[in-house]
Symmetry: C2
Subunit: 334 residues, 2 copies
Amino acid sequence: MKDVVAGSTGASGLLGQIDELFGDDLVRVEQIFAEELKSWHPFVNDVLGHMTRFRGKRLRPILLLLSAKACGAVTHDHLVLSAVVEMIHTATLVHDDVLDDAEIRRHVATINSRWNNETSVLLGDYLFTHAFHLASGLESTLACRLIGHSTNLVCEGELAQIHERGNQDLTEAQYLEIIEGKTAELCAVCCQLGAHFADAGEATTAAMREYGRCLGIAFQIADDLLDVLGNEGETGKSLGSDLKKQKLTLPLIRLLDQSSPEDATEIRRLLADPTEPNRDKLQKFVAGSDAIEYAFAQANEFAQTARQQLAELPDSVSKRLLEEITEFATQRSW
Amino acid sequence: MKDVVAGSTGASGLLGQIDELFGDDLVRVEQIFAEELKSWHPFVNDVLGHMTRFRGKRLRPILLLLSAKACGAVTHDHLVLSAVVEMIHTATLVHDDVLDDAEIRRHVATINSRWNNETSVLLGDYLFTHAFHLASGLESTLACRLIGHSTNLVCEGELAQIHERGNQDLTEAQYLEIIEGKTAELCAVCCQLGAHFADAGEATTAAMREYGRCLGIAFQIADDLLDVLGNEGETGKSLGSDLKKQKLTLPLIRLLDQSSPEDATEIRRLLADPTEPNRDKLQKFVAGSDAIEYAFAQANEFAQTARQQLAELPDSVSKRLLEEITEFATQRSW
């Protein structure tokens, strides 16, 4: 089990190499991000300032820049687009924290707990509109169109997830459909944009998009595993929230699928009433099953499919780093 | 007082004329709107279907189309942009209903009361991203850029409004700054887009933008007046919600400004604790003051400034209708 949640030294090493390769570019992305998000209103600036404290490892900008460099060269458009996708991702995080009633994110108070839900809703909107405004500064409408299409699918995936909350009969296929929208789509478009704006051909751009998609699915399965396994100190997030919100994720879908009818009845009863003692009982069912191993294996399989998409790329440091990301995809929360 | 809330026959007559002029165009706008908002997920379609039941008089598409026709001719781009601005407006309504805990809108259950806040937050996001996706189907990035800029200001105005909730010292200038963002900006960009995409010159486009801005301010002051004066049956909205949410609007700012220190102290006490009996007491202070007349006069002044912007346009049915809208702007909630 240790492999699933630990192993962050390897991932940190990887992030160090990425920083070395893109240090200046990532600083420039941050500047573009900050320049776009300036307000005449002191309160809005306060909220924006607080928000920067819980932003993460910039995975999406990194995927975009690595894809660009692996296919050609990083241009100014790539830097702008990196800021755009980071802004969209941050908007979804801010709204997710409202939906999940989350109090902390990356060890920092969420906007809804520091201020209120209203501020979170409006800040998320503010980030969405600024992202599109920034993207519309590019010469062609293509980026707006691709990012618009992806965010449409992200929202649809999230709406589907809300609807399926409490559905104990959610299938693995339905689960994958949801995470493909809410998580994988944005990773896919990052890699697609990186490749396209580096003048990659159609086949390469499609392969990079598929790399991002499969990697995003692997990440989300790993993230859902962490919610079942992890502890708050390690990830800096409120945990067990999927259970509390009655969101069925892959380990539990597998657990129900593999249990005897009697056990399944009991598991469904516990899921329907996710008090702390009941969650502890559920953990025992999980521990006595192959649920974790199965979900972990599925995540690894998607990560390997992602890796295979890179086969035709010429050798480069960026290609190697994209490959390495697939190795660490299932090892930690990004 | 009757003039403020009644007189809707005149406005209905006006809407009839607009319908006659743009009937086919508005049907096409509706088709574009509906085509963009189709989902693979039955739940998302259910929510979208419900949403169409509380959509309003299409004021923003009407302003865009009238501006286009007054400056030249209505093109396909105008129809697409009309659907875009209507989608953005609907997104803000859906999120407003979460912020205001509103239960009904235009006599129909809000999304948050029919489903839940989560669905409202995500549906609003879905509408925002689809609006930008639709706008990016145009040839140039200009529309995305202008609409992006406007929606940035809309969100900023709404954030400022949330921050100032409960601030009994809000000034008229601060109030105007807020409504300029949250309401007037989208009306301004509608008229700007209408003119620009009809090949109007820079001066005309700027005048049309200013028309929309002043008209939007007049509308919002009238809407805020209705919240103080109106009744639910007439407007189909939850009323008195500004008071409940401790949002200071123009009549109350004026009331405080013109009251004796003793009365002001009592009014502040009532505002801070907006129970029903206290709201009734407030109404008596309002009725004994010039607060309503003052706010009404301010709205009229903005409407007249809007009208003046049209002076240089050649005579046409569209110009006359744009002028007439300014006459009705302060008479009803749009």
